[in-house]
Each structure stands twice: as structure tokens, then as C-alpha cells.
């Protein structure tokens, strides 16, 4: 097996090539080291080679935390495989550490015997001290459990680009390309896609383009020539369903899904949004595509973004807003107005760690209560969640379909993990997507009073749009009389309207497909999950199924309402395990609705589940464990953490 890179090969060196089913690589360094770029390039190249991929970018909230500190470490993990994969991998096979802080924070993820590539130039006194090392770990024998390759990346990069008219800083900035080149060689990946990227990105700055190209090739050649690295790995193509693929991140898929939904319903797309991590890139993506009849309104705040979305919906557009938990909190009042005025729109919450500002760049699933319950009054809203980056495309369309069918605002939950993570997306043909029909009432007959709150069989009211003669009407946040829409304070009418609004949401069960199960229809354990934990749960269930266990996976798309047949499904299993990245929010809902004593596997660390964690809990439940992770906190024997990490006091958020 040989590499496909167009490089001069040294015939003198014969290195062995090992073929692997899959591998996981993590690039980590300072947040200014270009690790996200390295990871993205490696991902795209692997995808182009036909591997299945799953990625996990992990970066700090600070744009530039103090250089070399633990707080400033940025990482990007790529799992690539010749088989179907759903997660970015529990452990890392090869770790690239650009500085001591990156090593200190990421070494725990590297498997025993894994490859460790460290930029030895960065392991000097100051860097070591910042990372909390008393001795240089590259030299003190503490890394014997790994296949350590110390590479003087800074010096080697400088040597490669030395002749160019660039500042020292600019030269050193090419280091990530050197690291990429080395890892590209290690995993037998071609350089062409990255060379094309360099050409596109830096074409207008030929010196920089040349420097990056030289650094990339220097890294590749280094791998090829240096004797210490004697094995190259090859991961063959995966067997994916036939079709055309591209690698997509969740936020782009949301943007594409919304754009598709607008066109499928013959509507202008209006996005009212305020920048917030990790949702901003949806706003940015849509702002690029104005020629698709997309209007993006960057509002003065989250409240205005939501209020303008309500206004645009009233005026007849496909109105949407995107945000994250703290932003949704601010939008809540206007979301209530949307419920009261019964206007269709899509509200996307890319969940992040909370409460308050919380962990802006980290993932969590703790906004489920907020989505279902988080408004004043009896204020039901349909809630669905996307399960993976590519699934965001379908989920966005489904959200809009339900919104117009029922004349309701719909909440779509994603999370930081799937928003920034990528996977191969089998690109659909637009013509194959299901149309989303929208109807508006025709002009009213002269002298006939228009009744804005009449209803069809789904209890949806007519979407009468300004500009139509004879349909002039007034709506608002005050309670309405059914049928006429006039302000009405009658006790009986209020209860009737509360019931109408709740029934509208409940009736959605009639338009969502029966719940799919992965595994036998009955058995010992049902793993019930929702949202971005799909990959870890699916993989974990497949693992225990392979051991012959009677375990089934049930992944919910709709959280409100829950599918019609879910109650029956739950009864057919001895134990229900609900893994969630929160304290047990779906578990509470399931327990309340079905009176079933579900078990919770809960993790609130700003990180996704590893497959191993879920497998471990399934096995424990099979063996009789009925405890939930954070149950009975009233009797918790609190102890302060034994080790309180030394951190700079002025960290932002």
C-alpha cells in the first residue's frame, strides 16, 4: 500500500504499513496554534478518502486565553473508520500535543500504547511551569506507556520556510501545517485537499501560501524519512450507502435545512438573531445566502430577535430565530406571545453548558425543561431534537412542517456537540425533498367579518397575512375569544383556550411516525435517549447486543409531544435506562407521564458521553443496578473537591 501524495519518495526507506479498521486522532495546542484548522483539514481529507467520520472540536470560551496556559488549550478529535461510526471515539490512538499545557490536559484521553507526537521546542521552562510540570515529561520517562515521538516542530518549520520574506511570527504560525503533514503521512492521507485549501484561502498572500505548503510538505517528508517513525497506518474506505457525500457540521445543516424548508414552502426565510455561542455560525451561514431569498436581521438583543421573528411570522414569512440557553431565557416572553397569537415559526436552541453563562463552548442537554416548560402560564410548545450533525438538516424541515400544519411556534433543540461536530452527509436532491404546503386565506367577501380564530381539524387557525382585503384583524398577547379572536376575560373561555393550545400540541402525535426501535421489541433494558447523545447510545447498545444481551435502543426525535406508542414500548422492557447530559430532565418527564421508574445515567461535564460510559451502565443495569447518577441529593454527603485546579482568576465567558 502506498501513499497517493505527489511527493518525491525516498526509495531507501522501507516502512511497514498496517491496515486498521478505524483510528482516532486528536490535535491539541494553544488556542492560537491553529488546531481547529488542522482537525478540519484532516477530517475533510479522511471523508474524501471514503472513511466514515465523526469529530469533536473542543475549544475554550476565551478567544485567546493567556498563551501556554491550561485554560487556553484547544483540541480537535477526529474518528475515521472503514465501518459505520456514530461518535468521535472514546480514546485517542494518536495525540499531537503542540505544548506542555496541551499534553497535560489531553494525555488522559490517549490509550496505553498510543502514539504521542509532541512539539519538543515548546517544552521549555516557562511552558512546563504553566502546565504544572516540575520536570520535562518528554525526558523524565513518565511517558513510557506511549509511543512517544518528540519532534522539534518549531525549528523544523523555521528551517523549511526560512528563505521566505516573512516575520518570525508568521513563520512560526505555519507549525500546524507541519504537524498536519506529519499526521497525514502517519495515516496515509493525501495532501491535495489541503493544498487546494491553502490555494483558496491564502491565494492572495502568495508568501503565506508558500510557507504553509512548505511546512505541510516538510511535515510529510519528516514522517517519511525519520527512522524513529517506522510504521504507517492505513484505514480503508467505509461502506456507506451509495450517493454523493460531503462532510457537514450541525450548524451548517440547520442553516441548509431552514433554507430548504423555506423553498419547499415557497416562503421567504427570515432569521432574527443575536450572536451567541454556539449558535452564531447559523446566523453567519444564512447571511451568506441572501440570493436564496434569505433575510437576516441581527437584532440589538435576544428579545428583539424574537419579537422581530413574531412580527415576520405575522407578516407572512417563514420566520426563525437561533440562539442558546441564555438567549432563549430572554426570548421566553416573546415566545409566549407566539404561542398566544398562534403563529408558525422555528426557534432553534443550540444548547450549551448552563446555568447562566455557564460553559459557552461546551455541550449539555440541560435546556429540555426550558424548552418544554420555560414560559409563564400554560404555554405549551412542540419540541424536537436533532440527533447528529447531518440530522439537523431533516429536523429543521420537520420543525417548519409541524409549525405550519398546526400554526404553532416550534422549538428545535441541538447542542454544542452536534453543532460543531461533523459527519458525512449523504447529499439529497432538492427535488426529492418533501414539499411543505402552506395556505393563506383568500381575500374576504365585502362586509363579512373575518374570524381569525376559527380552526381546522388540527385546531390550526388561518394564517391571514396583511395586505389581504377584508381580512383585517388584530391579535395580541391578551387572552382571545375563540373564533373571533377578540380580547376576552371570560373564565370559561380562558379555560377553553388553554385547552385548545394544549390540545393543538398534543395532536401533533398524529403527524409523527411511530417510534423506531434498534433491537428487539421487548427485553431486559431499553436505552431511551434524545438529541446529541444518539451516537454514543447507539454504539453502546450495538456493543452489548453483540454480546447477546436483550437490550434495545429507542432514540426520541419528539420530546413534546412524546410519540403515541412510547408508553407501550416502555412497558415491554424490564428496565429503562435514560442517559442524559443533565441531572435527569427527560427522566422526570418520562416518570411523570408514564409512571415508570426509569434509571438515569447522567453526566454534566460539558462533554459528550463516551461509548464506554454508556456500555458500563447498561452492563451494571443488566446486573441489577437500579441507581441513578445523582439521586437523593438531599442526603448527599458533600465534600469539597480534593484537588482544586489552579486557574487564572480573570477568565471571561
Amino acid at each position: 500500500m502506498s501513499t497517493t501524495a505527489a511527493l518525491d519518495k525516498s526509495p531507501a526507506l522501507q516502512k511497514q504499513v498496517l491496515t486498521l479498521d478505524e483510528a482516532t486522532v486528536r490535535f491539541c495546542g494553544d488556542s492560537g496554534d491553529g488546531m481547529q484548522l488542522a482537525g478540519t483539514q484532516f477530517t475533510n481529507t479522511s471523508a474524501l478518502m471514503g472513511n466514515d467520520i465523526a469529530t469533536f472540536p473542543d475549544f475554550p470560551a476565551e478567544i485567546r486565553a493567556p498563551q501556554g496556559t491550561l485554560a487556553g488549550v484547544s483540541g480537535f478529535q477526529v474518528h475515521f473508520s472503514s465501518k459505520d461510526i456514530y461518535t468521535p471515539g472514546d480514546t485517542v490512538d494518536a495525540l499531537v500535543a503542540m505544548n506542555p499545557a496541551a499534553l497535560a490536559t489531553n494525555l488522559g484521553e490517549l490509550r496505553a500504547g498510543g502514539i504521542l507526537i509532541a512539539n519538543s521546542d515548546a517544552f521549555e521552562a516557562k511552558g512546563l511551569e504553566q502546565a504544572g510540570y516540575k520536570a520535562n515529561p518528554l525526558e523524565d520517562g513518565s511517558l513510557q506507556a506511549y509511543r512517544l515521538h518528540t519532534v522539534a516542530m518549531t525549528k523544523l518549520t523555521r528551517a523549511a520556510v526560512n528563505h521566505l520574506e516573512l516575520s518570525q511570527k508568521e513563520k512560526d504560525r505555519c507549525r500546524n501545517f507541519f504537524a498536519m503533514g506529519l499526521v497525514f503521512w502517519l495515516y496515509d492521507r493525501p495532501l491535495e485537499p489541503t493544498l487546494r485549501y491553502i490555494e483558496e484561502k491564502f491565494g492572495k498572500k502568495p508568501e503565506i501560501a508558500q510557507a504553509n505548503t512548505l511546512a505541510l510538505k516538510a511535515g510529510y517528508h519528516y514522517g517519511e524519512t525519520v527512522e524513529a517513525i517506522n510504521t504507517q497506518f492505513h484505514v480503508p474506505k467505509a461502506k456507506l450507502e451509495p450517493g454523493t457525500y460531503t462532510s457537514i457540521v450541525g450548524n451548517t445543516a440547520v442553516a441548509y435545512g431552514l433554507m430548504a424548508a423555506a423553498r419547499l414552502s415557497d416562503k421567504q426565510l427570515f432569521l432574527g438573531a443575536y450572536p451567541i455561542t454556539p449558535a452564531s455560525s447559523i446566523l453567519e451561514e444564512l447571511a451568506r445566502h441572501k440570493n436564496f431569498n434569505v433575510l437576516t436581521f441581527q437584532a440589538e438583543d435576544e428579545i428583539a430577535a424574537m419579537a422581530a421573528t413574531v412580527g415576520a411570522a405575522f407578516a407572512g414569512a417563514m420566520a426563525t430565530t437561533v440562539s442558546s440557553g441564555p438567549g432563549i431565557a430572554l426570548k421566553s416572553e416573546a415566545m409566549g406571545l407566539a404561542v398566544m397569537t398562534e403563529l408558525p415559526m422555528v426557534i432553534v436552541n443550540v444548547q450549551r453548558g448552563g446555568p447562566s453563562t455557564g460553559l459557552p463552548t461546551k455541550t449539555e442537554q440541560a435546556d429540555l425543561y426550558q424548552a418544554i416548560f420555560g414560559r409563564n402560564g400554560e404555554c405549551p410548545m412542540p419540541v424536537l431534537a436533532a440527533s447528529s450533525p447531518a440530522d439537523c438538516f431533516d429536523a429543521a424541515q420537520e420543525a417548519w412542517r409541524i409549525a405550519v400544519q398546526y400554526m404553532v411556534p416550534v422549538v428545535l433543540l441541538t447542542d454544542g456537540y452536534i453543532a460543531n461536530g461533523s459527519e458525512p452527509w449523504r447529499i439529497p436532491k432538492y427535488a426529492d425533498l418533501e414539499k411543505i404546503p402552506v395556505t393563506h386565506p383568500a381575500p374576504g367577501a365585502s362586509g363579512e367579518k373575518f374570524l381569525p380564530y376559527t380552526r381546522n381539524e388540527r385546531l390550526a387557525r388561518p394564517w391571514a397575512v396583511p395586505g389581504m382585503t377584508g381580512l383585517e384583524h388584530r391579535i395580541g398577547g391578551l387572552e382571545k375569544q375563540d373564533v373571533t379572536g377578540n380580547v376576552c376575560y371570560e373564565p370559561g373561555n380562558h379555560e377553553h383556550m388553554i385547552r385548545v393550545r394544549a390540545a393543538k400540541v398534543e395532536k401533533i402525535v398524529n403527524d409523527i411516525p411511530p417510534q423506531k426501535l434498534d433491537g428487539p421489541p421487548s427485553g431486559d433494558v431499553l436505552v431511551l435517549s434524545w438529541g446529541g447523545t444518539f451516537g454514543a447510545c447507539a454504539t453502546a447498545v450495538h456493543n452489548v447486543q453483540a454480546q447477546g444481551k436483550a437490550v434495545t435502543h429507542c432514540h426520541l426525535r419528539w420530546l413534546n409531544p412524546l410519540p403515541k406508542d412510547l408508553g407501550d414500548i416502555l412497558k415491554r422492557f424490564k428496565k429503562i435506562l435514560i442517559p442524559e447530559l443533565n441531572l435527569g430532565q427527560l427522566r422526570t418527564v418520562i416518570r411523570a407521564k408514564y409512571l415508570i421508574d426509569a434509571i438515569g445515567l447522567n453526566k454534566i461535564q460539558g462533554k459528550p458521553f463516551s461509548v464506554g460510559e454508556v456500555v458500563g451502565k447498561i452492563e451494571a443495569v443488566l446486573a441489577g443496578d437500579t441507581t441513578s447518577t445523582h439521586d437523593d441529593l438531599a442526603n448527599w454527603d458533600y465534600k469539597p473537591p480534593t484537588k482544586v485546579a489552579k486557574q487564572s482568576a480573570n477568565q471571561g465567558g
Partner: protein
């Protein structure tokens, strides 16, 4: 009155909805509603193209009483709701009806940003210097020392002056009128409706239940000639029962002078509503009765500036012209793609 032949001729009563008006008897809001209904048929705009948006407060019930499209939204957010409406439907004639609490307190941020964007909408602020709907707490325009239920020892917040704020945000149309000056009010609303850009109109409005007489000095037949000054474009600032007083600039400061005694009209400040720089309009908005000045009414400023509702749609047109109508299949396949057979 010029009426497009294709439009039915409407009367003010055609703009009355079937809802009973529920403001307190004697409220200044009635006069504003009556003037609005009166100017509507003269605007040459089909009724179905008109939208009234409001927030929360007494004034915000306004949309329910107009037989047009309307939304009674939530507290302070009407400018943002209107922004959404006008952005996607620039063909609509959009009005925001608000009050001093709604616009300046809870909704201050939206007001500021809507004005600076200069969407072609009309904002009418009913200023009664009190919270009426919540039954009598002080508002952001209540004077210092104002004793109310929530300020029994007197308000200690320095009041906001709506027009100063609007001019600070570089509003392109700024005007003031008084609920009882119905002819003037009608003319100002008409000018606001015709202005292309955000029109901001403050109306001195009496709350006869919780703050009766707050504007007595400016409304009273006996005092108003001395306490108000009608602004007319290109005319000197003259006021007084005998029109014998004027406003002269002394350096950067206005001063009240008596005409005659060596001072002629030519020495006075001439009003220029078209001035590009908002400084003079701002100076006029700072003239207060309490400081011995007449308070100007009329149009302070009326200038042209690009409009957000036009620009946001122009970008779509330009993008479409340059790149063609977006092709989703092309977009989806625009990155690095690979085939699996």
C-alpha cells in the same frame, strides 16, 4: 384630497373597529385616535396595507380600535415586532403606538436601535408622564420630585426627554404635538406618515386619572402662547400671545429675547428642519418650560437617510442579481464532495 381612482373612498369611520373603546372618559388618547382615523383616508393607502403595532400600556390598546391589521404585542417590544413586519413586507404602512413607560423604560433599547436603523415606520409616543395602566407609578418622563404611589417621597430619577433621545439616535423625523391641539396633531401625524424613514412623534397626552394637568401649562388657553412655540421650517422662532418674543442663539445657548428694542426677526434663530447636523434640533428639544423656555411643537427634524427596510431587501436583490437565484443542489454540493458507488 387626491384619491387614487382604483381605491374605494374611505371615511374615518371605516377605520373604526367593532370594539368598544375602553380608555377612561376624558383620556387624551381619544383625541389622538380621532385624529388618526381622520388622516387615514387621506393617506391614499389601502386599509389592508396598514398595520398598527403596540406594546403594553393604556396607549397600546390603540390597535384594537383601528380596523386595520394590528398586533398588541408585549411590553416595550413593539418597535422590534414592527421591524420584523416591515423587513419582510416593506410594502406595508406600519405604525407603532407606544407610551413613555413602554418606549423609554422597558423598551428603550428597541426604540434606540429602531430609530438608528431608520426603517420606514411611524412611532407615536403618548407621553403622559405616568404609568396609567398599572395605576399611577412614576414613569421615565416624570419630573424629579414627582410624588406617586411608588415614589411617596418624590421621584429621584432624572427624567428622560423623548425627543432628545430620538435626536441622539439621529432620528430622521422628529416632531411633537399636543392631544388637545387637534388640528396641529393631525398635521403632524400626516407629516409623520409621509416621511420615508422612522418618524418619531411625541404627543403631550393628559392622563386625567393619575396625572391630571401634567401638561396644563402647554394646553391651557391662557398660558400656551407663552409656554409653547410652533416650529415652522425656514421661519424665525417667535412666540407669545402678541408674538413679541423670540429665541436667539447666544454662542451655543438659546435665550429668550423681546422683539423690538433693537432686536428684529432677523436676529432670531431660524428653524431648519432639513439641517443635516442634528445639533440645532437637539438644542430645541432641550428647551423646557421649567427653565423659562417655550417648548417647541411641530417638526424638529425631517431629513433623508437610507432606510433599513429598503437596504435589507436590496441586499437580497443585489445578491440574486450577482449570483442568480440560489440553487440548493449546487449549494449542498459546493464543498468537498465524494461519491460512494
Amino acid at each position: 384630497m387626491s384619491v387614487d381612482v382604483t381605491l374605494p373612498v374611505l371615511k374615518p369611520t371605516d377605520f373604526a373597529s367593532d370594539q368598544d373603546v375602553r380608555w377612561c372618559p376624558g383620556c387624551g388618547d381619544y383625541a389622538i385616535l380621532a385624529q388618526m382615523k381622520k388622516i387615514m383616508p387621506t393617506l391614499n393607502i389601502p386599509r389592508e396595507k396598514i398595520v398598527f403595532v403596540s406594546g403594553i400600556g393604556c396607549s397600546s390598546r390603540f390597535p384594537y380600535y383601528m380596523n386595520t391589521y394590528g398586533m398588541h404585542s408585549i411590553h416595550g417590544r413593539a418597535p422590534a415586532v414592527a421591524t420584523g413586519i416591515k423587513s419582510v413586507r416593506p410594502d406595508l404602512n406600519v405604525w407603532v403606538i407606544t407610551g413613555d413607560g413602554d418606549a423609554l423604560s422597558i423598551g428603550g433599547n428597541h426604540l434606540m436601535h429602531t430609530i438608528r436603523r431608520n426603517l420606514d415606520i411611524n412611532i407615536v409616543l403618548f407621553n403622559n408622564r405616568i404609568y396609567g395602566l398599572t395605576k399611577g407609578q412614576y414613569s421615565p418622563t416624570s419630573p424629579l420630585g414627582k410624588k406617586t404611589k411608588s415614589s411617596p417621597m418624590g421621584a429621584i430619577d432624572n427624567p428622560l426627554h423623548p425627543l432628545s433621545l430620538a435626536i441622539g439616535c439621529e432620528a430622521t423625523f422628529v416632531a411633537r404635538s399636543i392631544d388637545t391641539e387637534i388640528k396641529h396633531l393631525g398635521e403632524v401625524l400626516m407629516r409623520a406618515a409621509k416621511h420615508a424613514g422612522t418618524s418619531f412623534v411625541e404627543v403631550y397626552q393628559n392622563c386625567n386619572v393619575f396625572n391630571d394637568g401634567a401638561w396644563a401649562y402647554a394646553k391651557d388657553r391662557d398660558t400656551k402662547a407663552e409656554t409653547t412655540l410652533e416650529l415652522i421650517h425656514n421661519k424665525p422662532l417667535i412666540f407669545g400671545k402678541n408674538r413679541d418674543k423670540g429665541i436667539r442663539l447666544n454662542g451655543m445657548n438659546p435665550e429668550v429675547v423681546d422683539l423690538g428694542k433693537g432686536i428684529s426677526e432677523d436676529d432670531l434663530l431660524f428653524h431648519d428642519e432639513k439641517a443635516t447636523e442634528p445639533s440645532l434640533a437637539y438644542l430645541l428639544s432641550r428647551m423646557r418650560h421649567v427653565d423659562g423656555f417655550p417648548e417647541p411643537i411641530g417638526v424638529f427634524r425631517a431629513v433623508d437617510r437610507p432606510r433599513y427596510d429598503v437596504a435589507i431587501n436590496e441586499q437580497v436583490e443585489v445578491a440574486t442579481k450577482e449570483r442568480g437565484v440560489g440553487d440548493l443542489d449546487k449549494l449542498f454540493n459546493s464543498g468537498d464532495v465524494w461519491q460512494v458507488a
